[in-house]
Symmetry: C2
Subunit: 131 residues, 2 copies
């Protein structure tokens, strides 16, 4: 009955426990900024404010907490060099570099298919308009 015959079945039809497991894991990384930060760090280590510039419109509070989460999950390392002014460098760990691959896959897909998404949005709006 399954529509997919992928070799590794990670689906969770009827397996709600596994589905919840995936859910919790995805929830940890699928916030608005984590993947973006991982992507930027994939180009090399960054210091806090450099990271903030590269990521875009992110507040320092949110970036700080995002980095804490990423560090907690083992994606990012935080290296403090005690000089004046203090210097803190963020870099991807081995796990973070591994994670970069699926993230890039996703990012590339999204970039490549954004026209299709835009078209769908226009059609959706048109459909809604004539109700």
């Amino acid at each position: 009955m399954a529509t997919l015959d992928n070799p590794v079945d990670t689906a969770c039809a009827g397996d709600s426990a596994r589905c919840e497991h995936i859910s919790r894991l995805l929830a940890r990384i699928s916030d608005k900024w984590s993947m973006l930060v991982v992507r930027v760090l994939g180009q090399g280590p960054r210091r806090f404010n450099a990271l903030r510039r590269d990521v875009g419109e992110i507040s320092q509070k949110v970036l700080a907490s995002t980095l804490r989460d990423l560090e907690e999950n083992g994606f990012v390392s935080r290296t403090v060099t005690p000089v004046t002014p203090p210097q803190v460098e963020y870099a991807l760990t081995d796990l973070g570099r591994d994670f970069l691959q699926p993230v890039q896959t996703l990012a590339e897909w999204v970039l490549a298919n954004s026209p299709r998404m835009d078209t769908a949005r226009i059609e959706y709006a048109a459909r809604r308009a004539l109700d």
Copy 2:
């Protein structure tokens, strides 16, 4: 200076416009539930309450708005059969099926690497404990 030499460079070092583009696109799909719903629908069409059971701990309100977003972005189709009781079936569109691939990649990575994440969390907690 880049640490990656991937063929298709979708990174955004110094290209903040592109980065923001990716940011907006990722933000549209990287909420807590969208990928999960796409995954479940990847196993075949579902009606509202069946979907709700399969996804897990999601309220009807959030599922409804998630489905609206997915429909708006062209990932999911909504087919109403006017019978009593009313019957509404959700299914992946072509775009949604395409999207399934990077989503599965991500889900499989997360499943496979959750032990590493767990270990990192324990180590992080241990480090924090001796400050």
